[in-house]
């Protein structure tokens, strides 16, 4: 397995609230430097971060009073469609037709801003997945902000699909040996052009570990826990608990936990978690705190442990295999399927790329209309 990222994919550049009108943000996604901002009209736009003139990062520029973006080097000015409309060195007003920023397909949906990092012609084959719990006012969503992880994003995807590592890696917080013993059902399907893989763990009359009681009250529960690699850029985790026999009867507690994993390059990615709970659910351990806030308070420690493991794992990738092959355990089926799905996507995109001439950076590229 080559630990390479899928390029033809929608990846999360940030949450909607991270993009304020007329504030430039700079992003490294799939080895490309992007400038992303929200226009005065309210839509989010994304462009290659290189000024078409001298590669100067336009994210270093500023917005003029007339709403144009001015490059900080030679003062080329761009409108919100990326077209250069003013060149100080051309006082005659002549603008070469190729004077434009290369746009990236971008979509804002359910509280997330998604950017298509690959071949723009294939963007319409895929749809960013829905994440309704982030935008729904009936839910409280708390996010981690961007976290730079020095590891290939596949290592995080595997980590997220695999809760048999909770003990011992997360011993002391969410570590729960019993997790490793719940049988795993594996589901697969296709949604929005993406193949997904999902594990489902059902437990009846399950004694909750103390931290779950703090979050979700009940001691004995029926529980359903799913982990789904929705796309190469998003993993969705859902946990629902209710007193035995009462799942789905309105007594459910639980969370929806989104993890976004956006590759920077083959050895780095940006991880974000967004935890959503019903807005009116409060913690049992500290009734002044919402369940979402209580959970969010515990996550940084858990994330640090995962980051520690991912970094170490990535480091070991640097040694030649010399006949080494990872041992395959029964609990790894979802991980193998995820790898296979990612590898197939890479194959598809390289096939599509082979049949397509290289687009010049400043040639107009197809853009998915913003919603």
């Amino acid at each position: 397995m080559d630990y390479k990222y899928v390029k033809d994919c929608w990846y999360v550049a940030g949450l909607s609230h991270e993009f304020k009108p007329s504030v430039l943000t700079k992003h490294l996604i799939a080895e490309q430097s992007l400038a992303i901002w929200r226009t005065a009209q309210g839509n989010v736009v994304a462009f290659d971060n290189r000024c078409c003139h001298k590669r100067f990062p336009i994210s270093e520029g500023r917005f003029l009073d007339n709403g144009l973006l001015e490059c900080a080097y030679h003062g080329l000015c761009y409108d919100s469609a990326g077209a250069c409309v003013k060149i100080p060195a051309h006082p005659d007003g002549k603008i070469p037709p190729s004077a434009r920023l290369r746009p990236y397909p971008v979509l804002e949906q359910d509280g997330l801003v998604w950017v298509w990092s690959g071949n723009p012609e294939r963007a319409s084959l895929f749809k960013p997945p829905p994440t309704p719990e982030i935008a729904d006012p009936g839910w409280e969503a708390i996010d981690s902000g961007p976290m730079a992880i020095p590891a290939n994003y596949l290592l995080l995807v595997e980590n997220l699909l695999d809760i048999t590592h909770f003990y011992p890696l997360h011993d002391g917080n969410i570590g729960d040996y019993a997790n490793s013993e719940i049988p795993i059902e594996l589901e697969e399907g296709e949604e929005g052009g993406y193949r997904f893989v999902r594990t489902r763990r059902r437990a009846s009359n399950h004694k909750q570990p103390p931290y779950f009681i703090d979050w979700f009250h009940y001691e004995m529960v029926d529980r359903e826990h799913t982990h789904c690699m929705v796309t190469p850029g998003l993993t969705r985790v859902e946990l629902r608990v209710a007193p035995p026999g009462q799942l789905g009867t309105g007594k459910d507690h639980g969370y929806t936990l989104f993890h976004t994993h956006t590759p920077v390059d083959n050895g780095n990615h940006i991880w974000r978690w967004i935890v959503s709970c019903r807005a009116d659910h409060m913690s049992k351990g500290d009734p002044t705190q919402s369940t979402a806030a209580r959970i969010a308070g515990m996550f940084p420690e858990v994330v640090d442990q995962d980051r520690w493991a991912l970094e170490k794992q990535q480091h070991m990738m640097e040694y030649p295999d010399n006949g080494y092959s990872e041992l395959f355990l029964r609990s790894d089926k979802a991980l193998r399927r995820a790898r296979q799905i990612l590898a197939q996507m890479q194959h598809d995109e390289s096939k599509a790329a082979a049949s397509r001439p290289l687009t010049r950076v400043n040639a107009p590229a197809a853009q998915v209309p913003a919603e």
Partner: protein, 318 residues
């Protein structure tokens, strides 16, 4: 494919024109495990990679031993082995791969070797002896001077596990394979390996044996990895999502056929233990040949690098 760094630990002249080369890990310690029938790639010199069957006991984890007949009229690989490799020299090896494994459910193993084709049989004899399985080796060579592993085979002869046949260069005076293999015995698996004439005769002599009970490997095959040379029967795979139907011939794996038809599937070990090619099937019955999935998994998944089919068509969720 994974490679490893080794050095030549010993070279022993076994018989006229035949030498064994013992490789050990460059940094000491254990080498990747193998099962009888496996071969390794030896990077003899730049641009010259050859496959050789391992002939030592698979329980020996410190060394790989291959036996090489110097072939004057060959493509140069065997000559280069004899002429270029020296004790102490570093050499790059491919990790062992096995297209000629012992059947797991056999009651009896019948090994038939022609000349240098005895090399995988030596590892098989060790493995079968260690497992106290019922086996017999027929070893056909030209003359005692051209017989490798004489000492080891003599031991097998003494214990009633082998017979040596010399033809002095005249095949008509050699072992009569047709007579030997006339009567298929239920539960007995036949394995053969040898020079082209021998392979042809053995193929004819085993043509009436039940499918799945005859196994063979050609040596001196092209430098490209040898296709799975188990004696398999052909079947078809249907790809559930595209409706495409592909023929899987006896000498190719499902994964190979998929790749040839531009249906992408990631593979790694190609021997059914790493789980990389885990694929869901939707109809038909696979003949599972992996070593990692349990019965529940087998009802849903198949490792397409090694599995065959029990039904004429196997439908995959691809």
């Amino acid at each position: 494919m994974d490679t490893l760094h080794a050095h030549v630990h010993a070279i022993v002249l076994e018989a006229d024109g035949i030498a064994t080369f013992e490789f050990r890990h460059a940094h000491g310690g254990e080498l990747p495990a193998f099962r009888a029938g496996a071969h390794i790639d030896v990077h003899i010199r730049p641009g010259c990679v050859r496959q050789f069957s391992l002939c030592n006991d698979p329980r020996e984890r410190q060394r790989y031993v291959v036996a090489v007949l110097r072939e004057e009229s060959g493509r140069g690989g065997s000559k280069a082995m004899h002429d270029l490799l020296r004790i102490g020299q570093s050499v790059t090896l491919g990790a062992p791969r096995n297209f000629f494994p012992l059947a797991r459910d056999a009651r009896r193993h019948f090994l038939v070797a022609g000349g240098i084709g005895v090399t995988p049989m030596m590892a098989m004899a060790s493995e079968l002896q260690a497992q106290e399985q019922d086996f017999f080796l027929h070893y056909c060579t030209r003359s005692p001077e051209r017989t490798a592993f004489r000492e080891r085979v003599s031991g097998l002869v003494a214990s009633g596990h082998a017979a040596i046949h010399h033809d002095d260069g005249d095949p008509s005076r050699g072992l009569d394979l047709r007579a030997l293999l006339l009567q298929p015995e239920p539960g007995t698996h036949v394995y053969y390996c040898g020079p082209p004439g021998f392979m042809g005769a053995a193929a004819k002599a085993t043509a009436h044996w039940p499918s799945g009970s005859v196994h063979f490997e050609h040596f001196g095959a092209p430098a490209a990895p040898v296709a799975a040379a188990l004696c398999n029967s052909a079947f078809r795979v249907r790809l559930a999502r595209s409706g495409v139907v592909l023929d899987v011939p006896a000498d190719k794996s499902i994964a190979e056929v998929l790749k040839e038809n531009d249906v992408f599937i990631e593979t790694s070990c190609e021997e059914g233990y790493c789980g990389t090619c885990l694929t869901r099937y939707t109809a038909g019955e696979p003949e599972h040949r992996d070593s990692v999935l349990d019965d529940d998994d087998h009802r849903e998944f198949v490792l397409v690098c090694c599995a065959r089919a029990r039904t004429p068509t196997l439908e995959l969720d691809l």
